[in-house]
Each structure stands twice: as structure tokens, then as C-alpha cells.
Symmetry: C2
Subunit: 199 residues, 2 copies
């Protein structure tokens, strides 16, 4: 299955993003002036740590399947389990995108905002791609697996909101009091996602 290599690449990328995201958020937790802010970002990081734990098992598994072309030899139960695991990480990508969007409301400096928004955009693409592959795979293997492809987004227009724009005028968050925040970059152009190093 060609999809396995693509899924592997997506989950490998998001694993790197989690590390970068953690590097951005941890200073907020450390600098938080109240328990609510601390709990809020601690909670988001914990959820991402849980996702990281699952990805650390799923990524090598997909890698071994792809390398040895073993997917055809999976039992029905193994196949169903794999599809279920991938579907859980589809939700994981969706939630991560929202963690990134929520974080946009914390930061005023363009460098960090560009990094967050870059990861948000790619994560959204990856999410849609995984969703599409899940639809294909679950129709191909409909005898062993029924995917719940719900977005839980029905009736909500929140996903149509441009949070980069909406957050631009948000009140300053705790990020503004962080002592070692990245120096503001005068030029927006030429800024790359990699220019702000993750942890």
C-alpha cells in the first residue's frame, strides 16, 4: 500500500512539529503569572505528550510495514487495528491544529506567530490528507474496518475563522512578559519556519 509511506511521512513530520511546539510553549508555562494560564498550557502540552507517546509506536510500525512490504500479509485483525490507530492520529492532527490556533492568541511577536501559523497550515493539509486516505482505506477494507470519519465539526463555523488574523488584535498574553523571548525580527520577508528553533 502506497498510503503507508505517505502516512509515515506525515506522522514523522508532526512528531518534529510537536517538539518545536513544546519548545515554544514551555517558556509560557514557566513564566505564567497565574494558575489558570499555567494549567491551560500544561494541559495542551500534556495532550501533545500523549500523542507523541502513541506516535513513537506507530511511526516505526508503519516504517517496518512500508520497508518490508508487509501490509498484504496483515491479518484482518491487525489491519483493523492499524486503521483504528491511524484514525486516532487523524483526530490527533485535528486537535494539534487547534492547539496551534489557540497558541496564536498568546504571541505578539511575528517570528513566533509565523512559526505557529506555518505549522498550523501544514498540519491542516496533513489532516485533510489523512482523512482522505482513511476514506479510501476504509472503503477498500470495509469488510474488516468501519471508520468513523466524523469531524465533530458539524454546525460549527469556527474552522472557517482565520485565527492568524483574529489573534492579531488579541490582548497581550503572558508571552509578552517572557524574559528570554526571541528578539523581534524587523523584516517579515525571508522568514523561514526553521528560523525559530524548537526544543
Amino acid at each position: 500500500m502506497q498510503e503507508i509511506s505517505q502516512l509515515h511521512a506525515i506522522f514523522d513530520r508532526t512528531r518534529g512539529y510537536i517538539n518545536r511546539f513544546m519548545g515554544i510553549i514551555q517558556p509560557i508555562i514557566d513564566a505564567a503569572q497565574d494558575e489558570h494560564t499555567r494549567l491551560y498550557y500544561h494541559h495542551i502540552l500534556e495532550e501533545e505528550e500523549q500523542r507523541m507517546g502513541r506516535l513513537q509506536e506507530l511511526i516505526p510500525y508503519l516504517e517496518s510495514l512500508a520497508a518490508e512490504n508487509k501490509t498484504d500479509k496483515l491479518s484482518d485483525r491487525e489491519l483493523s487495528q492499524m486503521l483504528s490507530d491511524i484514525n486516532l492520529e487523524r483526530f490527533g492532527l485535528h486537535n494539534f491544529r487547534e492547539h496551534l490556533e489557540l497558541s496564536l492568541y498568546e504571541f505578539q511577536d511575528d517570528a513566533t506567530r509565523q512559526v505557529l501559523d506555518g505549522m498550523r497550515e501544514k498540519t491542516h493539509e496533513d489532516y485533510l490528507h489523512v482523512k482522505e486516505m482513511m476514506a479510501t482505506l476504509s472503503s477498500r477494507f470495509s469488510d474488516v474496518y468501519q471508520a468513523d470519519l466524523t469531524d465533530h465539526d458539524e454546525g460549527h463555523d469556527i474552522h472557517q475563522v482565520d485565527h492568524l488574523k483574529a489573534s492579531a488584535s488579541a490582548p497581550h498574553g503572558v508571552a509578552s512578559v517572557i524574559k528570554h523571548s526571541p528578539a523581534p525580527t524587523p523584516a517579515k520577508k525571508g522568514l523561514t519556519v526553521g528560523s525559530l528553533k524548537g526544543k
Copy 2:
């Protein structure tokens, strides 16, 4: 396995709590004055909806195992899968407790705060109970399953904070502008968790 019945009872209770929690949070989303607040609570509800989706499969499965005493007949793979599913819901309980704690910072009326804090307390107990059972089960079935019993709480003191107390003096949230909020109750005593109806 006696644990299966206990796990079933816990997950059945938390399913009821999710419904009650949604009934409390949805009006906040509807009344939100800005995109950040709307995204924030929308995100929390979505995560709980995802959890509900998983519980709707797990609860009847555990029920059938308990009713027919089938646990001994599970294959190694089925047993491993079941333990993995339960462990995921252990994280689910942990995250739900934090969703409840975060929500405490939104509400000023005692009735809602008591309901949230009651669910928080029981959810924390349930979480610890599931964690304990997971430790027992994964040592009993160590040949087929290795549980990751990490809390992702290491080095954090946030879980020692009394968020009911800390949130008492928090700035008023959007809850204060909800038109159909429950009428303030003059007497704290005699208030029961059931006195505020969920959806």
C-alpha cells in the same frame, strides 16, 4: 476478571458526565464574544466528543465481556488491544479532569461550580482507580502487554493546585454574560450535583 465490571462502571459514569459537561459548556460557545473564547471551548467539546465516540464502542464491549465471562477466552492480541484501549481512556479521564478544572475559571455561580467540582473530584478518583487497575492488569498480562503508565505529570506541581480555590477570584468569564444562566442560588447548603441539569 472482576476489574472489567469496575471499568465498565467507571466509563459508564464518565459518559454521563460528558453529557452533563456539554450541557454546561455549549451555552458558553453560543454566547462567546470573541473567536478565541469560541475556539477554546469548541476545542474542549470536540475532544470530549471524540472520547464519547470511543466510549460508545468500549462500554458495550466491556459489558459483553463481563456478562458472558468471556475475558478468559480472549486471544493474546485481543487482550492486548483491550488493555491498550483502556489505557487510552485512562488518559481520557485525566484530560477530562483538566477540562473540568479549566472550566472552573469560567463560572462564578456556585451552582455550576459545585457541579463542575463534583465531577472533577469523582473523575480524579476514577482516574486513579483505572491507573491502579492498569498496573495490576499489565503486570498480570506482562507477556502480551506493556502499559505505558506515565502520567506526563513529572516535575509539574500544577496537579497539586486547588483549582476550585484558585478560580474563585478569577476574572469573570463569558459565563457572566449568558442570558439564560441558572439563577444564582442564595444558599450553598443542600445543593446537589443533580440540581443543575445537563443536556
